[in-house]
């Protein structure tokens, strides 16, 4: 038989879609191969029923392996591979038959049209149809590619273009498929003689102009138009491709950028910068090992062609620098388990790219689960390689999390929120510990950052995919309650959460309250829910509301329910300036939990406010002595070090012992986070005691004259109205920077001068609010030197 066609499909749990897919290819295919990678539904049965050959393949986290397995089962002379969420556009079906009769070609670009949300369809092209030669095989674990193999074993001239069109329906109706593909023009391949290269250059120039203005979106539009009108051998074409990819990277469209690079690297195989750009893409997504592999290969790649515009640096990195940087960052090699990271995105303000970036190296699969977020907010996640699921369900986080649990393919699942990141230094520990783990679940320390410090608590975040566990509360992460029969260990890995930083919006409060009310309806008045309501009140500074809910929770569950409750009750009382009552509460709490440092600290504060200095001093001393905080408590940053020191400094100041006062500020300033509290206080105090001109001297005496602390002092002096003092401190900071030659301090030095300048600007405008000249000057400053 001549020109037979095998259609190859890989599938897992595709019962809803596979029928449409197979039916669409039946009229043209001589063989349909379906490789099932472990469906738990009746996908294989449906396929068989439609006449497909079904093979089973054990999923090993490698798309290429599965695809190649399907190719190995094909006997047709041609292969068309297609995904379950695609179908052949029946109007173009005959193109398939025409294409396979042409002896000039070994493979074809065909069109894939996206049909999602009835949006304006976008079409891109892809090599999907090729001769069944054993040397044509897929490569790459995640972004599996056939084109590289085809080009290696055939040539560009033997790749044709067909109008055969696949309709891509998106993964499932609930899944978001963001249209993000860049239209790629096939004229490039055909090398048509075009006599009008002018217009191409014109759009190229317009694009450059927009790049200059940092309007990358408009720049990209023009570059694409230019690409459509230009030939690949035009002088500026390589530069154009470089600019397109650069724009895509600037727009954080890494997935699209990589796709373009895959393509153009074959056309300009000697263009080293394209490899560098791909390295940057992976690096910006946090896939350090992958990035490292590419940049390492670069040393083997041929030399740059002189005609290419190149600087040998992209984003300020040379190849060597990139390699060096990545060498320190990569750690995933040697991991012997697969991990799915399940990210919940409930708030569009969250910068999910930071989250993904922090775990990409670790993850084999990233799922992003959301209900209400817009495509634009999900775009970064998609571009960074995540699978995105939008569930058309009521806002119920338990349902989202449980859905993620079911979808996850990995041996382990890590649950994160979009505003959380894993500390990179800690991430390596995950590999080491889980490689040898015999446990099924782990508590991780979640450090919630506040404007000035943080608190830490332990939450069960990492579980092995063994048993059927379930989240219940629509807001809380209450996995530990369904884990009781499993052994849950503490993993010394920090998750940094930005959920509370710089925001406590009313909208967020309303949303969370709604969820908690639902929980109340469903589960009745549980203490943990009431307690959470109190916490929500606290976030929006509703102290009275918070206090009454905490009281209520304690009434339900009793005084031994949880130590945090005592802490927050005291906290609320202090906020309401009910110091005596607060002192009573705190004293009671310390009797029950004598090692709960945070409450001892609050007790000290009460006494300080009540001017019971001796008692206060004793409490703060006690805080300082308890170095190791018991991990069963929610712990606030600084209570056992810098905050206690600052309070002691205040006490000694009140007692007139300036030397001890300074000493305690010094101790506070040496702690991380501590200096941003202690240095301004100290600076103000020195200016008050010794007048201007003395701050640098005293900071040096106290051994606090690092670039960073001097900058903090400079900012503080400026805001105190001591401009000259402030500049003197800044100059001292610069001298430190220059003598230590530690460029990491530069951004602080810049920030300090920026703040000083802004302080003067504010003062100028305050005195001359209507002056147009000043307003213009300051506006331009903000435009040119944004923080």
């Amino acid at each position: 038989m001549q020109n037979t066609i095998s259609v190859c499909i890989i599938a897992k749990n595709e019962a809803n879609f596979i029928k449409r897919c197979i039916q669409s290819v039946l009229p043209y295919a001589d063989q349909v191969v379906v490789v099932d990678t472990g469906s738990s539904d009746n996908t294989p049965a449906i396929a068989k029923e439609l006449g497909a050959e079904v093979w089973h393949f054990t999923w090993n986290n490698d798309f290429s392996a599965a695809r190649n397995f399907s190719l190995s089962k094909a006997w047709g002379q041609w292969i068309l591979y297609i995904d379950c969420d695609e179908e052949i556009d029946p109007e173009t079906g005959n193109e398939l038959l025409t294409a396979v009769q042409n002896n000039n070609f070994d493979a074809y670009f065909i069109k894939v049209r996206n049909m999602v949300h009835n949006d304006e369809a976008t079409t891109f092209t892809s090599i999907r149809l090729f001769r069944n030669y054993p040397q044509f095989r897929f490569e790459g674990k995640i972004h599996e590619q056939i084109s590289k193999s085809i080009l290696n074993h055939s040539s560009m001239e033997k790749v044709g273009q067909s109008d055969l069109t696949l309709i891509h329906h998106g993964y499932n109706p609930e899944m978001v498929n963001i249209k993000a593909k860049v239209a790629r023009n096939m004229k490039l391949l055909q090398q048509q003689a075009s006599n009008d290269i002018q217009d191409g250059f014109l759009y190229y120039n317009i694009g450059i102009e927009y790049v200059r203005q940092k309007k990358f979106k408009q720049a990209l539009e023009n570059f694409i138009r230019s690409l459509e009108l230009s030939q690949t051998n035009t002088g500026y074409a390589p530069m154009l491709v470089n600019k397109i990819v650069t724009c895509l990277i600037e727009l954080n469209r890494y997935r699209d950028a990589i796709q373009q690079l895959d393509y153009y690297r074959k056309i300009y195989p000697n263009y080293r910068e394209l490899y560098l750009l791909e390295t940057v893409c992976h690096m910006k997504c946090g896939r350090y090992s992958q990035a490292y592999d590419i940049v390492s290969k670069l040393n083997l790649a041929p030399e740059d062609n002189l005609h290419y515009f190149y600087s040998n640096k992209v984003y300020g990195y040379s190849a060597d620098e990139l390699q060096q940087t990545l060498k320190d960052l990569k750690y995933a090699k040697g991991k012997n388990f697969s991990l799915t990271v399940c990210i919940l995105m409930t708030d569009e303000q969250c910068n999910i790219s930071n989250c993904i970036n922090s775990i990409s190296e670790l993850a084999d699969e990233i799922l992003v689960l959301t209900v209400g977020c817009q495509d634009s907010a999900l775009m970064p996640a998609y571009q960074m390689g995540a699978k995105i699921y939008r569930l058309n369900q009521e806002h119920d986080l338990a349902k989202l999390r449980n859905f993620g649990w079911q979808q996850a393919q990995g041996d382990w699942i890590l649950f994160l929120n979009a505003c959380e990141i894993i500390d990179i230094a800690d991430a390596k520990k995950v590999v080491n510990i889980i490689n040898h783990s015999s446990h099924n679940a782990y508590y991780l320390t979640v450090r919630v950052l506040l404007d000035n410090g943080y608190y830490e608590q332990n939450i069960c975040k990492l579980v092995r995919k063994v048993a059927n566990i379930q989240f219940q509360s629509s807001l809380l992460e209450d996995l530990n309650e369904s884990l009781q029969q499993h052994l849950c260990q503490h993993l010394p890995v920090k998750i940094i959460s930005h959920s509370l930083k710089n925001k406590s919006s009313k909208a967020m409060f309303d949303k969370n309250m709604q969820l908690l009310k639902n929980d109340l309806k469903k589960f009745g008045k549980r203490a943990n829910i009431i307690y959470q309501i109190g916490m929500e009140c606290l976030k929006i500074n509703n102290i009275r509301g918070a206090y009454s809910h905490f009281k209520h929770a304690m009434n339900i569950a009793g005084w031994h329910y949880t130590p945090e409750l005592w802490y927050y009750l005291t906290h609320c009382l202090i906020q309401q300036k009910k110091f005596s009552l607060a002192l009573q509460t705190a004293t009671a709490a310390t009797e029950i939990y004598p090692d709960y440092v945070d409450v001892i600290y609050l007790k000290g504060c009460c006494q300080l406010y009540l001017r019971q200095l001796q008692g206060a001093k004793k409490d703060f001393m006690c805080c300082l002595q308890s170095q190791k905080v018991n991990s069963k408590y929610i712990h606030h940053a600084g209570v056992s070090d810098f905050l206690a020191h600052c309070r002691l400094a205040e006490i000694y100041f009140l007692q007139g012992d300036i030397k001890k006062c300074f000493e305690h500020y010094r101790m506070a300033a040496t702690k991380p986070f501590g200096n941003s509290i202690a240095i301004p206080a100290l600076t103000k105090l020195i200016i008050r005691l010794h007048g201007p001109g003395a701050v640098e001297y005293y900071l040096t005496q106290l051994n606090l004259n690092t670039c960073h602390t001097l900058c903090l002092a400079a900012i503080s002096a400026a805001s105190d109205g001591c401009l000259l003092e402030s500049l003197q401190l800044w100059q001292a900071a610069i001298e430190k920077l220059l003598t230590t030659k530690d460029i990491r301090h530069y951004s602080m030095a810049f920030y300090a001068m920026y703040k000083i300048f802004k302080t003067v600007c504010d003062e100028a405008i305050k005195n001359n609010p209507q002056d147009p000249g000043l307003n213009y000057l300051i506006e331009k400053f903000d435009q040119l030197l944004p923080r």
Partner: protein, 656 residues
């Protein structure tokens, strides 16, 4: 007119109100063409008559705001086989004009390019730009000028006859219309702006018009508008446009002047990517880097530019860009880097490759003075390397670099010094406090000379500084009465009177001028005299006023001294602090600048005071950053901040 064995040439011109230049123009060409047609588009002066006088056939037409239309009318009646066209503010050299006939005799050529040499000043050190234009072509009815302005014939020739050969004539036409001295320059530019705006209404996407409008705005100093037009032009300019290279040049110059360094750099780099053989672009890039204090990068650019022996004719080129202009820039850089020897070497090379103005020579002398230990060596060097310099010029240079002793020794050897040289000598004597010699030289200035009165005034100043009462009266009678009164006032009340302190003073410009001159000769004496003989309020205000005068003469060091005195004498007003701050900033002392400005805001929190304070702060920041840059030269973020800070400092805080 002889034209028997040669094809005839018709000169066609369009003119209006050109009586100042038409004669020069026609005189340079009339003997080398066979017919002159001058189309007058509405002169209100003698232009048509003068043209007819010079042998032209004068036609008249209404001005329709369209250069091409007028030009096409001018060529309608031409009988020659060739048309040559010139503007009234152009001339052609006799040697060049002589060759026109042989050009006309060449077969198979349809047109000739000429180098248009644009002088930007009548002075020797003015920049000269050379561009290319078709100015002579075969007289065919189908060849028509196109474009309402900056009209071109070549497009039409190419359209009618794609195979047409257009050759370079190798000849120059000299154009004076861009000279700053040309009083009509601004008016013409304004007229061009109007024509371009009108043309763009009909054809808003025409890159040539947009570009030219940009150029015109730039010339008028309207940089923001220029930038906008350039940007619009960039959106529609074609890759093959003949003006694309010069577009890159002019646009990046504009951006650099606007202190938009990031954009300027990006643009000029793009230009170089397209036209790597256009030296001008490397030069501009060098200037951008120089502005940013990126000296090593700038040096690389200039060295790249110097690699070109000569710029290609197809580009608009500034004369000297591949030699002396670069050398002078390099010399300046090495002066700033405090490497006088290297600077000297480059400045000398600049002079040898064509930098011929007095300014260039003076720069050489200044650098040399910095380099050589002894004045003797300096003099030897100057004489050796500037053998063509006349004695008077040499003395002038020596005076300008404050080598007063050398002035005196050289003058002594001069057989017949010019009056100007004598004046310089007198001043040198005063600087050196050689009063007797000064009086001697003053006596040598003849009464008939224009400089006589000034010499007598110098005599007065001489006497004031040396407290010479008797001679003072002698000179006083010979100077202008305005000066005489004020001189007398100073003499009676300040110098010779040791009694009471003057509490009131009439600050006439003459008085200020005399005291200012005294200050330049003997700062300590003069300041002491002011302190001793004036009451405090007068002292303060006078010093303040004198400081303003110093600033207007760019003498900031003296201004600072005066302001210090003024403040010391109790004149602690916000204005004085503010002025002190400005002067300190000019002198590169940001810390003092900020301190003074901050004190000024304490006294008076107006926008003007804060403006100075912000300026001071940015300068303070700038110097800090400069130190950081020196230690971390390759940090990307730092470079970005640095460029932004420079743009802010130079664009928004530069002046008023």
């Amino acid at each position: 007119m002889n034209g028997n064995q040669y094809p005839l040439i018709s000169l066609c011109m369009i003119v209006r109100d050109e009586e100042k230049s038409i004669v020069n123009c026609l005189a340079s060409i009339k003997d080398y063409v066979d017919e002159i047609i001058v189309l007058d588009t509405g002169s209100n002066d003698w232009t048509p008559l003068l043209a007819r006088e010079m042998g032209a056939k004068v036609l008249f037409a209404d001005w329709k705001q369209d250069f091409s239309k007028a030009r096409n009318i001018s060529k309608q009646t031409a009988k020659g086989e060739w048309i040559l066209f010139l503007d009234a503010d152009e001339i052609i050299s006799a040697q060049a004009a002589k060759k026109l006939r042989s050009l006309a005799a060449a077969p198979n050529v349809e047109g000739y390019y000429f180098n248009i040499v644009n002088h930007t000043s009548l002075q020797k050190d003015g920049q000269i730009q050379v561009g290319l234009n078709v100015r002579m072509f075969r007289n065919k009815a189908s060849y028509l000028f196109e474009g309402a302005i900056h009209e071109q014939i070549i497009t039409s020739i190419k359209k009618n006859n794609p195979a047409a050969q257009i050759k370079h004539s190798g000849l120059e036409i000299i154009h004076y219309g861009y000279c700053v001295e040309d009083i009509k320059r601004e008016e013409k530019n304004h007229r061009n702006i109007e024509i371009l705006q009108r043309a763009l209404q009909n054809d808003p996407q025409n890159p040539f018009y947009l570009y030219n409008l940009g150029v015109s705005y730039y010339k008028a100093g309207r940089l923001e508008e220029a930038k906008k037009q350039y940007q619009l032009a960039k959106g529609c300019i074609s890759h093959s446009a003949t003006f694309l290279p010069v577009f890159y040049r002019n646009f990046s110059i504009c951006l650099c002047e606007m202190a938009e360094y990031v954009a300027a750099l990006e643009l000029v780099e793009e230009g170089i990517a397209h036209f790597p053989d256009y030296p001008e672009l490397y030069f501009i890039k060098g200037q951008i880097y120089t502005d940013l204090n990126f000296f090593s990068e700038a040096v690389t650019c200039y060295l790249n530019c110097l690699k070109f022996e000569k710029a290609h004719d197809k580009y608009v080129n500034t004369v000297g860009v591949t030699n002396y202009l670069c050398y002078e820039q390099l010399a300046d850089i090495y002066v700033q880097l405090n490497q006088p020897q290297q600077a000297l070497r480059y400045q000398l090379r600049a002079i040898r490759t064509g930098a011929s103005s007095m300014n260039s020579v003076l720069r050489l002398a200044l650098i040399a003075r910095q380099h050589f230990q002894s004045e003797k060596m300096l003099l030897k060097f100057l004489k050796r390397f500037l053998p063509d310099l006349s004695m008077d010029k040499l003395i002038q240079i020596l005076f300008n670099i404050a080598c007063y002793e050398l002035v005196l020794t050289e003058v002594a050897q001069h057989p017949a010094p010019l009056v100007d040289t004598l004046l310089i000598t007198i001043q040198s004597c005063i600087h050196l406090k050689q009063w007797a010699s000064a009086h001697q030289y003053i006596a040598q200035i003849p009464q008939s000379s224009k400089a006589y009165e000034f010499a007598q005034l110098l005599g007065c100043i001489c006497c004031l500084l040396s407290k010479n009462k008797s001679k003072f009266k002698y000179y006083l009678s010979r100077i202008h009465p305005d000066y005489a009164n004020d001189c007398k006032l100073i003499a009676n009340n300040i110098i010779f009177n040791n009694g009471f302190k003057l509490s009131k003073l009439n600050y006439s410009t003459f008085l200020l001028d005399i005291i200012f001159q005294m200050l330049t000769y003997d700062q300590r004496f003069t300041i002491k005299m002011l302190e001793k003989n004036l009451a405090p309020p007068v002292q303060g205000t006078l010093c303040h006023k004198l400081a303003l005068k110093c600033i207007s003469k760019n003498n900031y060091i003296l201004a600072q001294e005066l302001l210090k005195t003024s403040l010391r004498l109790g004149n602690k007003t916000a204005d004085t602090f503010n002025l002190y701050s400005e002067v300190a900033l000019k002198l590169g002392n940001a810390t003092e600048g900020v301190m003074a400005a901050s004190l000024a805001t304490r006294q008076q929190n107006t926008a003007a005071q804060y403006n100075t304070l912000l300026k001071g702060l940015v300068n303070f920041w700038w110097y800090g950053m400069l130190d950081i840059m020196a230690v971390f030269p390759d940090n990307h973020l730092l470079k970005q901040h640095w460029m932004a800070l420079n743009s802010y400092r130079n664009k928004y805080l530069k002046g008023e």
